[in-house]
Amino acid sequence: MNLTYLAFVVMSAWVLLAALYVVTTRNVVRAAYGLLAALFGIAGLYVIFAADFLAAVQVLIYVGGVNILIIFGVMLTEHLGRVPFRLVNFNLFPALAACALVAFALVLGVLIYPWPESAASYAPTSARIGQMFLTKYLLPFEVASVLLLVVLIGAVAVARKEVRDE
């Protein structure tokens, strides 16, 4: 067991515990902070996998953007300080059963298929990723920018419409 593997185990445990907390805590605000921890942990995992650019993007967009949005969402919709009477819906046992089935399928997949072993290299990736965006992935890249524009307008339209109706 080398040091990288140890770091991986610690980080994975951290991520999974944080995710477990997100899933089980009764308070949505706490869940949001748990998610923050989990997302940070995943950025740490990326660092271990030598994906430096991705780690930075993860921190910038997930931790800095999406998580803030989630906290916004919680604040705008939740009556803070009041823990709901019922946390989970009527669906708890079917949900557990479905999750067990999915877990079974995933474990089967992980165990049966001969996955290629990793040959980690620690070269910086940012420049090459940038070049791939402008060459091989130019079309998806442009489509993504159009998508973001559409989302921008769409989100405004969806969030506004009901205000006008009232």
Partner: protein, 691 residues
């Protein structure tokens, strides 16, 4: 002065600073400080432009070219498009015109807009306009130029619709923007085609103007022609040429200093400048140049005739601008790039002065713009009158004033250049006569004759900060032409030699060849003859105009009554706006309505139809239900009903429940696929066992 070599970026920075300060601190600074700051910053830009000019003068003629690459922008492989400014002889002239005339207009605006509630915003827009135009003229590559190009388009929209609470003004702003978009589309297509074809045929992907001009002769003729025409489409939009000139007269809806800025110093000259920038490209596409020259000449004549009958002082000047821009395109179109830019410069002086003078008149008459309610203002507004005289004589081509030299240069080149033709000269010649005539009409109806303004109007001279810019521009109108005195008048034609390094390319060079051409013709005599002819037609136009409108007002009246249809036709600008309305706008609206109806009839119809179909099917199935199932054994009915009841429970409307089923099914499916290799032999055995 080498300092300026690496600090060209400071020139556009000044107005940009102004924009930021006005927007964020304008309220705190107050009107007075904002006005002073706006003028001061543009003046600093002007000072820096003068430094650039002096620096260029230090260099030997062939090396007059500064490149300041201060910020990397797009770099992919060997291709690069950076924030790089280039000051060569061409952009130096433009710099001086933009910042110099722009500065005077800023000063004038502090007086003209003094009582406007949106004063601060106005100066923010003016500075933004100057900034965009400076980026446009300084840009060393097409992409950067496009930023300035779009910037002036945006600012023109903001400024034309500045008084947007009046619907007409807002519409005029939108019209300018939309018509410009048509041109911009063409421009962008041209740029992209140029970029692609340069890469394909010369192996170099580049957007730098000098590189493009150097490589242009290697392009196939057809592609060079297509690129030239597409780029000219952009120029026609921005510089208001047929068929895209319609936005410019409507743009008079903006405040008058804006008209002066847009139509004299900045925006509309962008098209001419762009053609001159691509001079190498155009020289390798002679057919495209022919189109440019022809469109320019026709625009000059066409809009000059419209200007004859307009009664709004600013409308006359607007059509006159379109006409003068036509001259510039005629100049660059016959390869006389320096003559075109020379006329651009003198036009900036006299047209800027005419607009500012008209603004002064309008200001003095409390917003009156109709020539029929003016007259006899000479004694009431002496400064305005005096300066207006200078501009009038300059635009009419009176010998010795700036307009005379530049217009004559263009006409001579149109006749004698190898890209020229006598017909082009003739069209320009007629337009010159018409110009003299309608400008005289304007002057007489404004300043002479009997007063036709109402008694209580009390016209007054404008304040000092409006008349001083007028006086400066008037001086420039008078002396501005002496930088380009042609050889035939024993001048050195300094301007042409100055411009030469920026417009000389492998494909040929603009300007100077005409002189050689003329020498071949052995026709100094011919040049003198043509010059005399254009002086004659200018004087004739002035004379007839003066006589008709100050002595014999009955003649135009009689003419109108004799040919009322012709008059109405010209007055309504040949109904071109109506034609476009009918041809383009109405059809677009019709298309919109059609697609709306398509939506209603076909799409909604399909939805309704499927609903109807479902209803029918369910009616049939209900009928089957009633006849067969009810007729069948009761137990079967019970089973059916029970199953239906059970199945209905699944349709709860609760998304998470649906999702649970979906996830479970997907998991089972995936597990099945993964396990298939191990299940399959067992199944096969079972199967064979069964048989």
């Amino acid at each position: 002065m080498e300092w300026v070599d690496t600090h060209l970026w400071t020139i556009p920075l000044m107005p940009l600073l102004g924009v930021l300060v006005h927007i964020f601190l304008g309220g705190t600074l107050g009107k007075k400080l904002v006005g002073i700051l706006a003028c001061l910053l543009v003046f600093i830009s002007f000072g820096l432009s003068v430094v650039v000019l002096l620096r260029l003068l230090e260099l030997p003629a062939e090396e007059r070219h500064l490149l300041d690459n201060f910020l990397p922008w797009i770099r992919v492989g060997a291709f690069s498009a950076d924030w790089a400014f280039r000051a060569d002889t061409l952009s130096a002239v433009m710099l001086l015109v933009v910042t110099g005339v722009g500065f005077l207009i800023h000063v004038y605006s502090t007086g003209y807009m003094h009582d406007d509630p949106k004063y601060i915003r106005f100066f923010a827009y003016l500075n933004l306009f100057t900034f965009s135009m400076l980026v446009l003229v300084l840009a060393s590559n097409v992409f950067l130029m496009f930023i300035g190009w779009e910037g002036v388009g945006l600012c023109s929209y903001l400024l034309i619709g500045f008084w947007f609470h009046d619907l007409n003004n807002a519409t005029a702003g939108m019209k300018a923007f939309i018509v410009n978009r048509v041109g911009d589309w063409s421009f962008l297509c041209g740029v992209l085609l140029l970029f692609w074809s340069l890469g394909k045929y010369t192996g170099t992907y580049t957007v730098d103007f000098y590189e493009i001009n150097r490589l242009a002769p290697e392009l196939p003729a057809g592609i060079a022609l297509a690129v030239g025409l597409l780029l000219f489409g952009g120029a026609a939009g921005k510089s208001a040429q047929i068929p895209l000139y319609v936005w410019l007269p409507d743009a008079m809806a903006g405040p008058t200093p804006v008209s002066a800025l847009i139509h004299a110093a900045t925006m509309v000259t962008a098209g001419v400048y762009m053609i001159a920038r691509f001079s190498g490209l155009y020289l390798s596409a002679p057919d495209a140049m022919m189109v440019v020259a022809t469109v320019g000449a026709l625009t000059a004549l066409f809009s000059a005739t419209i200007a004859l009958a307009q009664n709004d002082i600013k409308k006359v000047l607007a059509y006159s601008t379109v006409s003068q821009l036509g001259y510039m395109f005629l100049g660059v179109g016959v390869g006389a790039f320096s003559a075109g830019i020379f006329h651009l410069m003198t036009h900036a002086f006299f047209k800027g002065l005419l607009f500012l003078g008209a603004g002064s008149v309008i200001h003095g008459l409390h917003g009156e713009q109709d020539l029929r309610r003016m007259g006899a203002l000479k004694s009431k507004m002496p400064w305005t009158w005096l300066t207006f005289m200078a501009a009038w004589l300059a635009i009419a081509g009176f010998p010795g004033l700036s307009g005379f030299f530049s217009k004559d240069e263009i006409l001579w080149q149109a006749f004698s250049s190898e890209h020229g033709h006598w017909a082009l000269w003739l069209v320009g010649f007629i337009a010159a006569g018409l110009t003299a005539f309608y400008m005289t009409r304007l002057v007489v109806m404004t300043f002479y004759g009997e007063s036709r303004w109402p008694e209580h109007a009390h016209p007054h001279e404008s304040p000092r900060n409006m008349t001083v810019p007028l006086a400066v521009l008037a001086v420039l109108c008078v002396i501005g032409g002496y930088v380009g005195v042609p050889a035939i008048l024993h001048g050195a034609n300094y301007f042409e030699h100055w411009m030469e390094p920026a417009v000389t390319w492998a494909a040929g060079h603009g300007g100077a060849e005409a002189a050689e051409h003329a020498a071949e013709l052995g026709s100094h005599g011919l040049e003198a003859l043509l010059m005399a002819a254009s002086v004659g037609v200018a004087l004739l136009g002035i004379g007839i105009g003066w006589w008709m409108y100050s002595r014999r007002r009955d003649i135009p009246e009689a003419a109108f009554q004799r040919w009322p249809n012709l008059y109405r036709w010209v007055l309504n600008k040949y109904y071109v706006d109506e034609l476009y309305q009918w041809l383009v706008v109405d059809n677009l609206l019709r298309l919109t309505r059609l697609s709306g109806r398509f939506d209603l009839a076909v799409i909604d119809g399909a939805v309704n139809g499927s609903a109807w179909l479902t209803e029918r099917v369910s009616a049939i199935s209900g009928w089957i239900d009633n006849t067969f199932v009810d007729g069948a054994v009761n137990g079967v009915a019970e089973v059916t009903r029970a199953a239906g009841g059970r199945l209905r429970l699944i349709q709860t409307g609760r998304v998470q429940q649906y999702l649970t089923f979906a996830a479970a099914m997907v998991a089972i499916g995936v597990a099945g696929i993964i396990l298939w290799p191990s299940i399959q032999p067992w199944l096969a055995e079972l199967w064979s066992g069964a048989i």
